[in-house]
Amino acid sequence: MARMNMIEAIRSAHDVVMDRDPSVVVLGEDVGYFGGVFRCTDGLQRKYGEHRVIDAPISEGGIIGAAIGMGVNGLRPVAEIQFADYIYPGFDQIVSELARLRYRSGGEFFSPVTIRTPCGGGIRGGQTHSQSPEAMFTHVSGIKVVMPSNPYDAKGLLISSIESDDPVIFFEPKRIYNGPFDGDPEKPAVSWGSHAKGEVPDGHYTVPLGMADVALEGDELTIVTYGTLVHVAIAAAKETGVACEVIDVRTLAPLDIATLATSVKKTGRCLVAHEATRFGGYGAELAATIQKECFYHLEAPISRVAGWDTPYPHAFEWQYFPGLKRMSAGIRKVMEAG
């Protein structure tokens, strides 16, 4: 076992699958010679060559469209979009092509593309380097959507994503690339060095898609979340003293309903949390599903903690980001209700 941060774990996932499967190719802006602006593909071009780790032009639509074509022709492309905020020029290729190719061709054509993209706020990135657009993709039938919260899951889920014959959008919460973040910007940065999930096997292993994880056990309230907010939820549980069960969704689509329902039936209370804006967000899907599965076990209305419904501001990052204070306030609200 090695100690890895999320960047190293993601790099290791690439390395492991590229070594095993010569059909895996990587393409994206600055991914080759430079190794990616977040260094997630560092060293791969030197090891696997320029035909397998391709520096792409600044053309997100081109990167995704070309990746689809490569996938149709037997390769297994991993496309990096430098920031999730820059994925939109590729949106048509994702929604109209990648997601529906298998369906519209009666199962005869498919393209096993994985699109990796750093997402989320907390890095002073303003409106063009902080977005969490996952709900735009979970709304599209035919693509799987993944967001890990730690190095161990990041590597295992990325290997599963690349090996999956379905297209996957793999969101990487960049705030926690180098260490978990509990949502309080005043505290010193923490590394993955001493975190249990910072222990990552060097070789091949998978974390299956479509399975949530219980990140913290508790019996008073279930917090259903993913990405950076898993750590915020755990910290808020500690701060409030409420015995929270924190569910890390991990795969947003398809959703592991059973794990969520089991937990909420046990606790009777549920808080849904994500960084992305609230209105029409993925939390609405979670709340509706949990309500249907667990209605007769609920002791209080399901509540949501989310980003405010504004673009991501630069100056008010910590009033905008649903950090420790907001999560704790959310927990108290659900505990006081009903």
Partner: protein
Amino acid sequence: MITKSRLQIPRASARPGEKPDFSYLDVSPAGSKDKPDRDARTRDIEHLSNGLIRVLDDDHRAKGPWNPNFDATELQVGLRWMVLNRVFDERMWQIQRQGRISFYMQALGEEAVSIAQGMALRPGDMCFPSYRNQGLFMYRGVSLVEMMCQCLSNTRDMCLGRQLPIMYHSKSGNVFSISGNLGTQYPHAVGWAMASAIKGEDHIAASWVGDGTTSEADFHHALTFAAIYQAPVILNVVNNQWAISSFQGTAAGERRAFAARGLGLGIPGLRVDGNDFLAVYSATLWAAERARRGRGPTLIELVTYRGGAHSTSDDPTKYRPKDEWATFPLGDPIERLKQFMIAEGHWSDAKHESLVDELRTDVTVAWKEAQKFGTMTEEPWLDPATMFDDVYAEVPGHLKAQRRRMLEIEGDK
């Protein structure tokens, strides 16, 4: 003989540890390119998309038909703005390194683009800039203090704290809001120009992207619309050789000049020495007059070099030779204009030094002033309640409720 298809992977001419090599650059002698009539047909001037329109020669003389024949005052105005752009960047870079702003991007080595083009356009012409056009904002009347306040996201920030540093706008100066997404402004410029023509006005639009951004679909959308409707617009490609770590070959710059990107659509292209203040001015004025006379768009490639990092977030020594800029055949735009002015008897090293000192002092004074309106660590700060304004023309009910909730939580210390 090659019997199988194979990929051509573009390779930078030099990487760290290697000797810089600009032999790929097609550099024409100063004064060697003809200056056609403003109404010339595209098919008759295709040759201007190859080679390089240059005025300033290596012997510091101005040559050929593109010489705008500036007087001493005009030259000094141009030099002054370019030096201001540079010393402003130099200071803001340091300020970011001290952790006092979150991010910065310099225009080091590319100052002639914003200043000469700014001077060639009329105040009523609308500019759709990229993130390295700070000189354009300065030239169009945005004060140093205003620019610094934007970078500080403070109480006098024109963006009200909503944007990353350098994402300026100037409504009164006719400079559009910088997005941060690449190339999105290019179709906007074309649409603005189409509206100008629809309204029967003679204002034109101009926009800027880098060499890397020519790969974005929006670049091609803009060219298509501009060509079809003959929109009065100048579409500039600032070819500074590098898009973060990707050299211009990754945008197919090796196949054919960026200036030639519009030829297939009938858009004339001018390939211009972007570090030659006089050539940049003349080429822009030519394209502007052409547009104003109903002759449609021009694509101008400005060949220059990104003297610094892409932004404060990258280290260029990781992907290109350290001394590459020093060997760039088109030199430094400020140094070249300065040497020309000295050769013409309009300037001296002593005058130049005192100009640099004077402008550095202006920047220092402005920085003191800007900090009075707040910094990341010192009050006054913007009111977070304003975060919910301007999402829509009027704040809807759900945002009013979220604002109340935010204040409740933030007030609960």
